[in-house]
C-alpha cells in the first residue's frame, strides 16, 4: 500500500491536515485509534486564553510575540497564523460546521460551573459572548433531567449568582430515559442524546420546559441534544419563549462528537481513506533517516509507504506520548520528547496550578518535522497536542495549536511537492 501522506491520529489536527491535503489531490490515509480530544471538547476552540504566566489575553495574535521562541505559534509566525485563522471559519463551514467568533479577539464561553472562559471560536449553540458581562442582570431557568448526574444545576446557579444572574433550578422527568437509569455508564450525555434525538422525545422536553418557564429571560439546559444534527437545538429553542443556552456537560461532549463526525465525513468525501480502530506501530526507516513505511496493529505486513507522515497522536491521554517512572517517550517513532529529567519536577502540588508535564511534547524543527536523537526526520511531521513548546491546557491554546500546526504542515507538504514537480 502506498499513499502520498499517512496521518496518524484521528483528532482535530489530523483531520484538518488530512482534509486540506486530500482536497488538493493528495492521496491520504488516516489511522485513528478511536476517541480523541474532540470527544471531550468544551464546545469551543481556544487560541490563547492566557499567557504562560497566567495573564489573561483578549487579543491573542498581538500576544504571540511575548511567547517563547519554541512555541508553535512563534515557529509559524504571527502573519501566517493570522491568515490561517482567517481561513479557519470558511474551512470549518465547508465541512458543515458553522462556528461563532469575534474576529481576532477572544470571546467568552459560559462553562458548566458558571464561569466564563476565553476562547477563539465556538460551535454554534454554545453560549459564547463578546464580553463576560453579557448575561448580567438576567434571570435564568436552569433545567436538568431526572437521573442525569453529569450536569450540576446548583454549581451553575451559584456561579451565575456571583455575576448577578438570578436563577431557578428545575428537573424534568422524561419517561423515555427511564430504561437508561441504574445501569452504570449509561445515563451519560451521549446515551441520553441518542434517545433525545427522536422527535417525540425532544418535543416532550421542549413542552415541559415551556410549561415550567415563569418569565425568565434565559433557559439553560445541558448539551444533550443535536447529536446527529444541530438543527434540533434550534427547533427546541423555537418552542421556548426565552433565550436557550446549551451548556456543556461532563464528557463525552455531544457537540464534539458531532464535529468529529462531520470532519471525518469531509475527509472521506474528499477521497481520503480512514482506518478506524487501528494503531500505527513498527515504522521502518530508510537509510537516509526518513520514514519508509509504517505498520498497524491490525493490518500487519506489508508496511504502508508514503512520501510524508503526519504524526498527530495527541498528548498523554491520546497516547501520543507516554510516561514511565524514569521519563517520557514517543511510543511509535521514538522521537525526542522535551521534558524535565527529574520526576519530582513533572507535577505541581496544587491540582489547578499549571502542571509542567502538560507542556511536555515532541521536539521539532521550525517546520514541525520531528527530531530523533536531535536530528530532523525529513518526512515526519508532528502536529497538535503532541508538540512541545506549549502548555495548551494552561494557555487555553489546544485547538489553536492543533489547527494552526495542521494548516502549516499541509501548506509545507503541498509547497514541497510543488517544488519537486518544478
Amino acid at each position: 500500500m502506498r499513499f502520498d501522506t499517512v496521518l496518524i491520529g484521528g483528532g482535530l489536527s489530523s483531520l484538518v491536515c488530512g482534509i486540506l491535503l486530500q482536497r488538493e489531490g493528495k492521496k491520504c490515509l488516516m489511522i485513528s485509534a478511536g476517541q480523541n480530544a474532540l470527544h471531550f471538547s468544551s464546545g469551543a476552540f481556544g487560541l490563547l486564553g492566557c499567557m504562560p504566566d497566567g495573564t489573561p489575553v483578549d487579543a491573542p495574535f498581538e500576544a504571540f510575540s511575548a511567547l517563547a521562541p519554541s512555541h508553535p505559534y512563534r515557529k509559524i509566525g504571527r502573519t501566517l497564523c493570522e491568515s490561517y485563522a482567517d481561513a479557519a471559519v470558511p474551512f470549518f463551514a465547508s465541512c458543515g460546521i458553522p462556528l461563532q467568533g469575534f474576529g481576532r479577539r477572544n470571546g467568552f464561553r459560559l462553562t458548566a460551573s458558571g464561569s466564563f472562559k476565553r476562547a477563539w471560536l465556538a460551535f454554534q449553540d454554545v453560549p459564547f459572548f463578546s464580553s463576560d458581562d453579557a448575561l448580567d442582570g438576567k434571570r435564568a431557568l436552569i433545567v436538568t433531567l431526572d437521573g442525569f448526574l453529569d450536569f450540576y444545576p446548583e454549581m451553575l446557579s451559584d456561579g451565575l449568582r456571583r455575576r448577578g444572574v438570578e436563577s431557578r433550578c428545575v428537573s424534568v422527568h422524561l419517561s423515555c430515559l427511564d430504561a437508561l437509569r441504574g445501569g452504570p455508564g449509561e445515563m451519560r450525555s451521549v446515551g441520553i442524546a441518542r434517545i433525545l434525538n427522536r422527535e417525540t422525545n425532544w418535543k416532550q422536553f421542549g413542552r415541559e420546559v415551556r410549561a415550567l418557564l415563569d418569565g425568565e429571560d434565559l433557559v439553560i439546559v445541558p448539551e444533550v441534544f443535536g447529536l446527529e444534527d444541530r438543527i434540533v437545538n434550534e427547533w427546541i429553542a423555537e418552542m421556548i419563549p426565552a433565550q436557550v443556552l446549551y451548556v456543556g456537560t461532563m464528557p463525552p461532549s455531544v457537540s464534539g462528537i458531532r464535529v468529529q463526525r462531520l470532519l471525518k465525513n469531509a475527509f472521506i468525501q474528499a477521497g481520503g481513506t480512514f482506518l478506524m480502530g487501528d494503531t500505527a506501530c513498527d515504522p521502518e526507516w530508510a537509510p537516509d533517516g526518513t520514514v519508509r513505511c509504517i505498520h498497524t496493529a491490525n493490518l500487519g505486513a506489508p508496511g504502508i509507504e508514503a512520501d510524508s507522515f503526519v504524526y498527530a497522536g495527541g498528548h498523554l491521554f491520546g497516547r501520543g506520548i507516554e510516561s514511565h517512572p524514569d521519563g517520557f517517550s514517543d511510543p511509535v517513532f521514538g522521537l525526542d520528547v522535551v521534558c524535565d529529567a527529574d520526576r519530582a519536577s513533572w507535577v505541581e502540588r496544587g491540582f489547578f496550578q499549571a502542571q509542567p508535564y502538560m507542556g511536555y511534547g515532541i521536539g521539532t524543527d521550525e517546520r514541525f518535522r520531528g527530531l530523533k536523537d536531535g536530528r530532523t526526520v525529513e518526512n515526519l511531521y508532528v502536529a497538535g497536542a503532541q508538540l512541545a513548546g506549549c502548555n495548551s491546557l494552561q494557555e487555553g491554546s489546544g485547538a489553536g495549536v492543533a489547527v494552526m500546526s495542521a494548516m502549516h504542515i499541509a501548506a509545507d507538504i503541498l509547497k514541497r511537492t510543488e517544488n519537486v514537480g518544478e
Partner: protein, 538 residues
Amino acid sequence: MIDVAPEYDVIIIGGGITGAGTARDCAMRGLRTLLIERGDIATGATGRNHGLLHSGARYAVTDRESAAECIKENLILKKIARHCVDDTSGFFLTLPDDDLDYQKTFVKACQNAGIKAEVIDPEEARRAEPSVNPAIIGAVRVPDGSVDPFRLCSSNIVDAKLHGAHVRTYTEVIRLQVRQDTVEGVEAVDLRSGEKLSFRGRVIVNACGIWGHHIASLAGVNVGMFPAKGALLVFAHRVNNIVLNRCRKPANADILVPGDTVCVIGTTSDRVRYEECDHLSVTPEEVDLLLGEGMKLAPVLAQTRVLRAYAGVRPLVSADNDPSGRNISRGIVCIDHEKRDGLKGFVTITGGKLMTYRLMAEQATDMVCRKLHRDIACQTATTPLPGSEKGGIEKVLKKVWPTPTLTQKALLGRAGALAGSLPQEEEAGGSDLVCECEQVSVSEVDAALKHLDVHTLTDLRRRTRVGMGTCQGELCSCRAAARLARKASDPALARTQARAFIEERWRGIVPVAWGETLREASFTEWVYAEVLGLDDTL
C-alpha cells in the same frame, strides 16, 4: 457564676478507631459519653494503614505479647465486625533471598502465641494465589485477613450514638480545665462555626494516637511518643485474594493486602519529627522501595497501575533508641495519670494497633469505670457492631434483595445488614449511581449525608468509598458535591467541595504520577479546568 457546661461521665478526645471503640464501650456500659474529634473520624493512623486484619503472625517472633493480642482480637472481629472484614487468609512467603530456616522459627513462634500456622507446599501456594512470585521456596498459611478501617470506625461511632453517646467532629480541644490536681473538663472550638464550647467531664480519655502527645501536654503531663511514619501504595486492581507477607523479620514493604477493589503494599518505617505528622508526604525513594519490594511478593505489580500513595504515623510509645521504631512493641499502653503523674480524671490510651482497638477500648473503659466506681462488665467482645448482627445480612438477602444487583451487593459489603434499611427502591432516583467505580448509589450517599456526620466529600469517601476507585473521583466528585450542596442547602458547596476533593485526591497521586496514573490525571485536569471551568476564580 452559673456553670451551664454540659456534664459527661467521660469525654473521649480523638475520633480514630481507639476513640470510637472507647466511646462505644463507655456508652454500652451506660456512661454519659462525649467524643470530640478535631477533624473527621478515621483521619489519622486509623485510615492510613494496610487495612490488614493481622493474625498476629507478623509479630510472633519479635513481639509475642502483641501477637497473642492480635490473634485473640482477630477471632473476635471476624464475629462482631464481619461486614468490615474480608476473611482472605494470608501467606508468609520465603523467597530465594530469604533464609528458609526462619520459617521453622516463625511457625514455632506462631504456635506458641496460639496462631494457626500451616506450612504448605510452594506449588500449592502458587495454585491458591496465582499472583505470588513463582520463585518462592516456602509458604505458610495463617489466618490473616483484611478489614476496612473506615467502615469499622464508622460502625463503632454509629453504635456509640445508638447507645446515647454524643459525637462532635470538626471540634478541636484547645484547653483542658485543670483545677488543682484534677482535670474537670475541656474547652473546645467548633471549627466549622467558630463557636467556643465548654464541656465538663468526670474522666477525660486521651485517645489521639500520635497527637496524644499534644493533648497530654495540655494537661501538663508528658507522654513520650515516637512518631514512626509508614508509607503505602494503593494499586488499581485487586491482584491478590490472599494477604501476602514475607517470611522474615518485619521489614519494609513486605505485606500486600487485598481490600475491596484494590490492593495495598506497605510499609516503610522511619522516625519523623512530631511537627511533620500533620503534613506527611511520600518521597520518590519511598515509592521506589515499595514498588521494588512489592514486585518481589507479586511480580504482576510491575505492570499494575499505582492509584495513589499515602502515609500514616504509628502512635508508638518511646522505648530505647531505635531509629526506625521497628523494635518498639505494638503492645497497648494505658496510662492512669493519677498513678503516674498525680493528675486525677485523665487517662491516655495509646500504642497498640488497629487490630487491637477493641481491647484498647476495653482497657481504657475499665480504667474509666474504676475511677467512676462503676462495676459494669465489658460486652464488646460478643456484641456485634451494627450491620454485623447474627443472621442480619442473610435476612436482607432473603427478604429484601433475593437477587441483589451489583450495587446492592457492594452496599451489603459496606453497610452489612444496615443496607436493608436504606430507602433504595422507594425513593425515586435512589438507585442512580454517584460513583460507578465503587457502585455507590444516590440513596447510599444521601443516607451517609443524613446520618453519618458527613460535612465534606472526603468525609463521604470515608463512609462510602466514593472516589476511591480507579477514576479517583474524576466522574463522581462533582456528582457527589452537587448532592452534598443540595442536602446542605448551600449551593456554594458544590464548587468548593468538588475542588477540595479533587485536590485531596491529587495529593495522593503526585508521588506516583507517571504511566496510566498520570494519563488519567491529565484527562481529569482537562475536564475540570477546560470543560467545567473549576479552575476559574469566580
